[in-house]
Structure formats: C-alpha cells, structure tokens
C-alpha cells in the first residue's frame, strides 16, 4: 500500500466524521438558516477542531453566504471545505537551509505522544537516504526509554549515544554533539523525556538542552519538533504554545493519525499558533512516518 493510500485509509474516519457529516447535514437542509450553521459548528467541534476555530470558520462562512449571495446549502458545504483547506494551505513548513554538519533535530513533547517511535522513524527516513545519523538518548527519566530507542536506532542503522538512566540529559546531548562532530555525522537527532508543559522545572531542563545545542553548534541548522498525539484535544494548543517558549518549535509531528475520528486539532494549531506540521505518523511500521504535504492531506481528506 502506497503512502497516499495509507494516508487516505487513515483519514477515512476523520473524513467520515468531518466531511461526511457535513455532506449529510447539508442533505437534510433545503435552505440556509441558523440551524444549518449550528449543525455545522457542532460537526466541527466534535471533530476536535476546537470552539474558537470552529466559531471563526462559521463566522467566515456566514460572511461568504452573505457576500456571495448563496442560496443552496450545497454551496455552503463547498465553501466551508474551501475555508478549511485554506487554513492548512496558508502555512507550509519551510526547511531552513543546511549549514555546517551535523544538522540537528530536537524532539520534545508530553508523555506518551510518541517521541521515541517518531525518532526511530525519522532516523530510518534519513539513513535510507544515505545520511549518517547519530541519535542521542536524551530521555534519561522514563524506565527503559533508552533501551527502547536503542532498538529503533539499530533498526534504522543509526549510531547511538547513551548514558545511564537518571543522568543529566543535557550532558547526554553534549556527548552526542561531540560524537557527531568526531564521526562527521550528517544528522544528530536528540530524544527528550516526555514532560507535561505546565511543569516549570522540566521545561527549564528542556530549554537547557536547547541552549547547549545552540551554543555548541552555532553554525548548524537546528530544527525543533513538537510531537503531538492526534487523539489529543484542545490541550494540544497549550502544549504547542508553552513548548514554543522553551525550544522555539519549528514544526509539529502529528502521530497516531491512523485511528479514528481525529486530527481536527490540526486546524486549531494552524489557526491559533501558526506552527506547521512537518511529519505525520499513520501506523506502527518503521516507514509509517512521512513529510507532511498539505496538498496531499487536503486531497486525501476531501477526496470524493
């Protein structure tokens, strides 16, 4: 199964839940009225699009109905889909230019979002392009997180730098920086322990890791990714905001998108925080992570 098919399949439920419901709702209305608008708003909210983003979408929709003098509910449905597409197409992940080696990728997120697995998959993506990758085992807190990552590193064919559980993660990253330089690696990927964004000291610890990287590799391209579980509700917006303060998040890795009625949160994140999605994960296999392509996502989601 190609990735597009997988993506389409993964999004089937989201589609059914969001687009399918919109189409169904439209069918039961013969004219455009407030009930229709309420119905549409409800559909958006129940797909995790979020209250404020949903309300904004509906307000814009009302405006369009007025200015374009729409009469047919079908037109309304298409207009809403256009508005939603536009949110995603407004912002695209812009790859910063490569500088001196190694390129650094720092991955962070709350507990259980899928950081370690995502790193395994990103590493595989890079090694299969012939890049030399070093992985830093920066999650020194969770039991057996280091072992878990080491297995992924082996699968991906990447070098692995680790210390003991409980050691200072910034020190692990520092070691990995030295190792990356010595082995002239193309990429250094740093894992970090899962942390809830409202824990001040843990966010400071994360910021320290970021500063160590910036200080030791001032000439390198540093990309910072926040991993978000697609099942997450509106809290994802808080996560993105606070993590951005600590590590200036460049892009989001949206994981577990192979499930059910989820992923609506992506609209909230685009709308409210303007952080683009860089990768999406649609399965448990090592190849199930790909660059996020807004067009492809929109096409898969809105495909007939």
């Amino acid at each position: 199964m190609g990735f597009f098919e997988k993506l389409k399949k993964g999004l089937t439920k989201t589609k059914e839940n969001l687009i399918g419901k919109i189409d169904n709702a439209i069918k039961s209305f013969t004219k455009i009225d407030e009930d229709l608008m309420d119905e549409l708003e409800e559909i958006l909210i129940s797909a995790d699009v979020g209250v404020s983003t949903s309300m904004e979408l509906i307000d814009n929709l009302r405006e369009s109905v007025r200015s374009k003098k729409m009469k047919d509910p079908k037109e309304v449905a298409n207009e809403l889909k256009e508005l939603m597409k536009n949110i995603l197409l407004e912002k695209k992940y812009e790859q910063k230019p490569e500088q001196e080696k190694p390129n650094v990728i720092l991955v962070a997120g709350v507990n259980g979002a899928g950081k370690t697995t995502s790193i395994g998959k990103i590493s595989k993506l890079l090694t299969s392009q012939g890049k030399k990758v070093v992985i830093a085992a920066g999650d020194t807190f969770r039991a057996a997180a280091i072992d878990q990552l080491e297995i992924w590193a082996k699968r991906a064919g990447a070098d692995f730098v680790r210390q003991r559980e409980g050691s200072d993660p910034a020190a692990v990253v520092y070691d990995a920086i030295v190792a990356s330089k010595a082995r002239s690696a193309d990429y250094l990927i740093c894992d970090t322990a899962g942390r809830l964004h409202n824990k001040k000291n843990l966010m400071m610890e994360l910021n320290k890791i970021y500063r160590v990287i910036k200080r030791e590799l001032p000439q390198s391209r540093v990309e910072t990714f926040l991993v978000i579980d697609a099942t997450t509700g509106q809290n994802a917006v808080n996560q993105a905001e606070v993590f951005s303060e600590a590590i200036d998040v460049d892009g989001i890795i949206l994981t577990k998108l192979d499930g059910t009625a989820k992923g609506g949160i992506i609209f909230s994140i685009y709308k409210q925080l303007n952080i683009p999605v860089k990768y999406i994960g649609v399965g448990e296999q090592i190849d199930d992570l790909k660059d996020f392509d807004e067009e492809m996502f929109v096409n898969a989601m809105f495909a007939e």
Binding site: G50, G233, G259
Partner: protein, 447 residues
C-alpha cells in the same frame, strides 16, 4: 490569554456573574448554560455529553423553587455542581477482590496512555494494603516495553513476570497466573500492549486473554488530555471487550480533563484512579465530588487535607505544638516543616487545591521548588546553636553560611527575615487561639 484559562476559571467567571443577582430570569439561565456549554466543550467534554448535561441542569434550574429562592445564584451553582458530581460517578469506587485468589486485573488502552506506569502505581498502592502483587509484562510488541515494566518493578521492589522470547501474550498471561498461584502472589496486574480500538486483531488478543485469565476487573487507561475521540475509545473498549473501571492519567497537566466526564458517561463504569504525577506514588483514588468541585473552582479541599494527613506525622505535630507554646519556633522546626511539606508533593499542585486560590491568579505565579532547596541548604549550613537561636547570626556567620550553602548573603538575610515573620505570625496565633498548631496542621508556610 484566552486559551490558557481552564474550565475552572471560566466557570468561576460565570458563577461570579450570577452571584450578585437577587432574581434570575429564564434568560439569565439560558445565557449561563450557553457559557457552561462552551466552557465544557473547550475542556474536550464530548458534544453529546455536554448537551445532555446542560439540558438537565437547565430543566432543574428552571424549576420555580430556584427562581423564587432568595439566593438563586447559589442554587444554580449547586445544581451545576450536583449534576457534575452525579455525571462523574457519585461516590468513590474501589477495586474489587476475588474471593478466590489471586485477583487478576488487566490494564488496557491506547498507545501512550500510561498503562505501564499505572500498573506500577497501582501495584504499589495495593502493596500498602498488605498485598503481594505480581506485575505481568504482556506488551510483546513495543520495543523495550517488557524492560520498562521490569525497571518499574525493581524501582518499587515488586516482582515482575516476563517471558522474553514468548510471542504469545495470552500464553504469558496464563503462565503468570500459574506462577502467582504457586508462589502466593495476589493480586496479579497484567500490563497489555497499547492498541487502537479499531485494530481488530489486537482487540481479539484481549478478548482471548480475558477468556483465559478471567480477570476480576479490566481497567481502561485513558489520557486526561484526550479530545472528542475519547467517546469512541471508551465505547469500543467497553462494547467489544467489556471494562469494569477507568484509570485517568496525566491529570497533573493543565488539561481540565473533559475526557473524564465523557468516558464515565459513555461507559457507565466508574473512574477508579487518578494519576497525578511522574513519581510512582503519584496516584489517588478518584473522587467524583472533588473532581467536580475542582472543575467548578471550589478547590480540592479534601484531597489537600488527606495528603497532609498521610505525610504529616501526628506525633511530630503535637511535639511542635508544645514547643511553640513553651518557647517558640526555631529554625530547626522551620526546616522540619519544610521537609514535611515537600513530602506532600509539588507545591503548585498543593496550592491548586486550596479553595479561593484563583487559578487565574496562579498563572505566572510559579512556585519555585529550587528556592525551597536553597532554603534547606542554608539552614543545613548553620550550626545547631545558630538554628535554635538565630539571633546570634552576625555578619561573619552569615558569610560562612552563604558560602557553605552555595548562596549569597542576601539569600541568608531573606530567609532570616521570612523566618522572623513566620515566628511573629505563630506567636500571634498562639496568643489568639486555643486550637494551636495541631488543629491547623502545618499551616503557616511563608512561600
């Protein structure tokens, strides 16, 4: 910042709006319900659950008793609170034990919801009841998942049953039960692999396991941050496997945990535990009434008191009270109190439970745990004499203490000033009240 306001502060705004009113009209109630609806939706409570909730509250609030009561504002709040408590499950639910040991519990849930950590936490909790738990590693899929449970087990000193090379989770679970019977373990906690509720093959594995090990309870582990999809997760696990209870994890985050309302309503099964931190003892029985009052911004008074009781030694409190009455409070006591307090958990968590502590005002006010550490270091760098008689600390002593504790002289000064104030406060209280320290527990923290 709008997105930072929790449900609690949102509802508090609403409640305040109603507070001043003598008479509430139907229009008032409608308006309030609209805001409650929005607040609950933003807290990720499922759409349908919200609808049912607001409908039933509106109905009750519209009853003539309320409208004609002298304090309709309070009445409406009470109805909201009562309904929310009822929705969350009424009273506290406990784990049930089998009459024929060992009692078997299965933990199931999505990837990353926190099964393995919860497994350790619950085993640890049950051990406090003089049980000899056994944890079973049945996550044969995720790399190092078995190792993770083993590490948790060794941290807690609780035995773990694992078969590294067995690729049949059901067989491992069966063997574990036999192992438990032979060696007198009870209860047995089975940690299963994370899975999507739509993954037919893996759901079948759970059904097979259930048929073989006949668990007393199947506990569904749910991340408190889950969005609208919580409804589907809860429904699928409940309908396809059957569950007996719910464990709500990551409640120490800033999510208001709307998922809690959803899963409880959808499954009809009680939430039995709340996981509230990264340490292995950060788990509590779930109290629906407290959760409801927390959501409504009434503070989690009961939790706070319970926590204080668990970690604060009665005898020490009595000693301290006597000391206070006889000659006053010295730096040794100050240090001791601080240590007791740290046992209770992170300070911001504790403060959040105090009623009247506006969650809005709390934002930005971060409690600096490091400052506590520094204060501890300073006191520990003092001699015994200095600690019991801080008046003798002169400039050169201060210098020595500062360098001994790795701080500045200003830090030492600040501590001494803080201490002086606490002491004044204590003396005042001592004169005033006969209740003394014991009645107040360890109240006066200067931070």
């Amino acid at each position: 910042m709008a997105i930072f306001e929790g449900l609690s502060s949102k509802l508090q705004d609403i409640v305040n709006k109603l507070k001043g009113k003598v008479r509430i009209t139907e229009k008032d109630i409608k308006e309030v319900m609209r805001e409650i609806r929005m607040a609950l939706l933003e807290a990720d409570v499922n759409y349908k659950v919200v609808k049912d909730f607001t409908n039933s509250v509106t109905e009750k609030a519209l009853g003539s008793d309320v409208l004609e009561s002298l304090t309709p504002g309070q009445q409406v709040i009470k109805i909201v609170y009562d309904e929310m408590t009822a929705l969350l499950g009424g009273t506290t639910a406990k784990l049930t034990y089998s009459s024929k040991p060992p009692t078997v519990y299965m933990l199931v849930g999505l990837q990353g919801s926190g099964k393995t950590t919860s497994c350790g936490k619950i085993a640890n909790l049950l051990r406090k009841d003089n049980k000899k738990p056994l944890m079973v590693a049945c996550d044969i899929y995720r790399p190092a998942a078995i190792k993770q449970l083993q590490v948790v087990g060794s941290q807690l000193n609780i035995d773990v049953y694992a078969e590294e090379n067995n690729k049949n989770a059901v067989a491992i679970a069966e063997n574990a039960i036999k192992h438990a019977q032979r060696n007198g373990y009870d209860p047995v906690l089975i940690d299963t692999a994370g899975r999507l509720h739509i993954n037919e093959e893996l759901m079948q594995e759970l059904r097979d396991m259930k048929a073989k090990v006949k668990p007393m309870e199947i506990l569904l582990v749910v991340d408190a941050m889950t969005g609208q999809d919580a409804v589907n997760v809860a429904k699928s696990f409940s309908e396809e496997l059957g569950i007996d209870g719910i464990i709500l994890t990551k409640l120490d985050g800033d999510t208001r945990g709307g998922a809690a309302l959803t899963v409880k309503t959808v499954t009809g099964k009680p939430i039995k535990f709340a996981s509230v931190g990264e340490k292995l003892n950060d788990i509590e029985p779930f109290h629906p009434d407290r959760m409801a009052s927390r959501i409504l911004g009434m503070g989690d008074v009961l939790s706070l008191i319970e926590k204080a009781q668990e970690s604060f030694d009665e005898k020490k409190a009595l000693e301290m009270e006597q000391k206070l009455r006889s000659k006053g409070f010295d730096l040794n006591d100050f240090l001791e109190q601080m240590e007791e307090m740290q046992k209770m958990g992170p300070l911001d968590q504790l403060l959040g439970m105090i009623p009247g502590f506006d969650s809005k005002a709390m934002k930005g006010l971060s409690v600096d745990e490091n400052r506590l550490k520094r204060i501890k270091a300073i006191i520990q760098s003092m001699t015994k004499k200095e600690r019991s008689n801080p008046d003798i600390i002169n400039a050169s002593r201060k210098k020595r203490i500062a360098s001994g504790s790795g701080t500045e002289v200003q830090d030492v000064n600040r501590l001494l000033k803080d201490f002086e104030q606490v002491n004044k406060l204590m003396k005042m209280m001592n004169k005033k009240g006969k209740r003394g320290l014991k009645g107040m527990k360890n109240m006066p923290f200067p931070f």
